[in-house]
């Protein structure tokens, strides 16, 4: 064997310094390129997050104004019949005795949110002992006041270019000097549904809507997807038909999501007759959209189970179903769950198909069930981004922050689940 060794082998490897230096150089260059790529990706992510956070963090604080309210029993009971708005306005007027003209009064009221009447009613209902007392109540300021406090309104420009007139500014300064202005945590953002008034708008409705819609999606897609994956991977005979099915599933995963919206509109809404803009309709549409992804990821998880486990089970005399349910499925479950949660996270952020089935409506109530009209977080963001009021800008960014937090939470959950159920083989 050694006698006809080609000359090129006989001379041995070229270990010259020049060659090695060149190789090391390209190695280093590649590494730097990799670091550069990762760095720029992280940089862009940081820029994105910073810009959103910087615009949105202010939405978590809200300006409130303290007024003295006299809860005299005649004015306050019965709660259904009383004009709390009148009570509120009386309390405001009490602070500014010098404001006389109707126009001025209206301008004064504009410093406050126009829902403060409801706030007083809620206060009395929460704490009936207030009856007969005179108390200092913090009520919401209007969106314009809020913007002023947060520094978004320029005092220096001409009055006609401002949302608040000079007079309003003076009143405001007086309130401030009296110590009646404060910034409190914006609980409303998390406890109220959408509203036309920015200071009263919250994401609860959209949040509940998202949760309901995703529940429907999960309940539909996980069992069906897993069962389909198991059948295709373990039981189906491998012939031309199964190839055709596999190709089709892969293609479906790449279909633009808006197509599923059209499908939902045509079939679910028109033919089946599901109520439009409801979590059930949205859930079904998203389920159809996510199903191919779940099937593909579940099949990968099943393929990753080593065949030696299956052989061992079959060799023991286990039937195909016993093999799958006792051995393959438990081992593939972490991968399947991860795939499912990632699919859900994707579905959470989908807007286009839901727009098609009408979830773009303006919903002020928090949805109570699957057949109530609802909206979802991405759509809410879309609507707020479109709104003209300045106050909605920060709310849009805040809503985006909530959505991103939700996504991160879901992904963390996926990782935890995977770690918990992962079994080494």
């Amino acid at each position: 064997m050694t006698d006809n060794m080609p000359r090129s082998i006989q001379s041995g490897p070229d270990l010259s310094a020049a060659r090695i230096a060149r190789r090391n150089r390209s190695e280093r260059w590649f590494r730097q390129l990799g670091i550069l790529a990762i760095g720029s990706a992280l940089l862009m992510l940081a820029v994105l997050m910073t810009s959103i956070t910087s615009k949105g963090y202010s939405a978590f604080w809200q300006t409130q104004i303290a007024i003295n309210v006299n809860f005299a029993s005649s004015d306050v009971l019965p709660t259904e019949k009383v004009n709390f708005r009148g009570l509120a306005r009386r309390s405001i007027r009490a602070l500014f005795p010098d404001v006389k003209s109707r126009r001025d009064k209206r301008a004064l009221y504009k410093l406050f949110s126009n829902g403060i009447g409801y706030e007083l009613r809620d206060a009395i209902q929460r704490d009936p002992s207030l009856l007969g007392q005179s108390k200092r109540i913090w009520v919401k300021a209007s969106a314009d006041t809020d913007m002023l406090v947060k520094g978004f309104i320029e005092r220096a420009v001409k009055q006609s270019d401002r949302r608040l007139s000079d007079k309003q500014l003076t009143w405001f300064d007086r309130l401030e000097k009296d110590g009646r202005i404060a910034k409190r945590f914006n609980l409303t953002f998390f406890t109220q549904a959408d509203s036309r008034e920015p200071e009263q708008a919250g994401i609860l409705g959209a949040l509940i809507g998202s949760i309901l819609t995703l529940s429907v999606t999960l309940l539909l897609v996980f069992p069906v997807g897993v069962a389909a994956a198991i059948y295709l991977e373990e039981f189906a005979p491998k012939n031309r038909w199964s190839d055709v099915i596999e190709v089709n599933i892969n293609n479906l995963a790449a279909v633009p999501s808006i197509v599923f919206g059209l499908l939902g509109l045509a079939v679910l809404l028109n033919w089946v007759g599901l109520p439009r803009s409801t979590p059930i309709a949205g859930g079904v549409v998203l389920a159809l959209m996510t199903l191919p992804t779940i099937i593909i990821s579940s099949r990968s998880a099943l393929k990753a189970v080593p065949p030696s486990i299956r052989e061992a089970a079959i060799g023991m005399g286990a039937s195909p179903l016993q093999t799958v349910s006792h051995h393959v499925l438990p081992l593939a479950m972490p991968g399947m769950m991860t795939g499912a949660i990632i699919g859900m996270a994707q579905a959470l952020g989908e807007t286009a198909p839901l727009l098609m089935i009408g979830m773009v409506a303006f919903i002020v109530d928090v949805p109570g069930g699957f057949t109530d009209a609802a909206t979802v977080l991405p759509v809410q963001i879309f609507l707020w981004a479109d709104a003209p009021e300045r106050a909605f800008v920060e709310k849009t960014s805040a809503a985006i922050m909530v959505l991103v937090a939700f996504l991160i939470a879901m992904n963390l959950f996926a990782i935890l689940m995977r770690k918990k159920f992962e079994r080494r083989w």
């Binding site: 005979p237 491998k238 080593p306 030696s308 486990i309 299956r310 052989e311 061992a312 089970a313 079959i314 060799g315 023991m316 005399g317 286990a318 039937s319 016993q322 006792h326 051995h327 081992l331 079994r423 080494r424 083989w425």
Partner: protein, 277 residues
């Protein structure tokens, strides 16, 4: 003397082996006639006919790709799981055709157990590994029954002393030799009649291999064992009969003593003495 005894016995397939005191009258447990295997167009095995005698160890030897593992997998219908694999010929266990439409492959695999080349314990506890077979075949009713089964199987496999304190630890946490013994214990827990072993020691060191060979010798009293092996020394040590396969055919089959001292076929001689690969 041998011929007279054979005449006296005159049962088909019965042979009197003078040397084996443990199994004085051996019967044919399993036999194959004209077995062939095709993968698509490729003929992997043809015209294989062998008798497997009860309580005997028969080893199948031959170069790589000669079809011995394929043949082994025919015996418990494991080839059913391979797409495009067609088995022809007749294989009968206690006289019953295992490939007939009426036979359930699950039943065959409960009666003919298998130990694989690479140890493959289930990713469950040692206790669960052993119990799995008895559980799916309805062999036990109470926890006490299962405990007995686990203890007997592990003791028979020579593993009890090493793992009796850690039955709830995962089976995959044992060393290679222990894992293989666990797989053997798992196979015997369902009390099969025949045990097929596909190169069980090829991944193990010589000491562990010796322990498993000793185990096989002891198991012979209860089971019929067929072992595929690459090591001729191993075949010579543990089997009573040896069958040599080459290029998909059964070249020669006979008593181990004869095959290794004076084989009949030239191809067998060439393989055994290391003259062909």
């Amino acid at each position: 003397m041998k011929n007279e005894m054979n005449e006296l016995c005159s049962v088909e397939g019965a042979e009197y082996f003078e040397v084996e005191d443990r199994a004085p009258l051996a019967e044919v447990k399993l036999f194959a006639r004209d077995v062939g295997v095709k993968y698509g167009e490729n003929e992997a095995l043809k015209n294989v006919s062998i008798d497997f005698m009860e309580h005997q160890v028969i080893s199948l030897i031959g170069p790589s790709g000669c079809g011995k593992s394929t043949f082994l997998r025919c015996l418990n219908r494991m080839n059913d799981t391979i797409e495009g694999c067609r088995v022809t010929g007749e294989i009968r266990l206690d006289g019953k055709d295992i490939y007939s439409k009426a036979t359930d492959p699950v039943e065959i695999r409960a009666r003919i157990g298998m130990v694989f080349q690479k140890p493959n314990p289930f990713p469950k506890s040692i206790y669960e590994n052993i119990c799995y077979g008895p559980r799916i075949h309805g062999m036990a009713n109470s926890k006490a029954d299962y405990d007995d089964i686990v203890e007997w199987s592990l003791t028979s496999a020579g593993l009890w002393d090493e793992v009796k304190d850690r039955l709830n630890e995962p089976g995959t946490g044992l060393s290679g030799g222990q894992q293989q013994r666990l797989c053997i214990a798992r196979a015997i827990a369902v009390h099969p009649e025949v045990i097929l072993m596909d190169e069980p020691c090829s991944a193990l060191d010589p000491i562990v291999t010796a322990k498993i060979e000793e185990l096989i010798d002891e198991l012979r009293e209860r089971f019929t064992i067929t072992i595929v092996t690459h090591s001729m020394q191993q075949a010579a040590r543990i089997s009573q009969s040896t069958a040599f396969f080459h290029l998909g055919e059964l070249v020669e089959e006979g008593k181990t003593d004869d095959i290794f001292t004076k084989p009949g076929d030239e191809r067998t001689e060439a393989y055994i003495t290391g003259r062909i690969g």
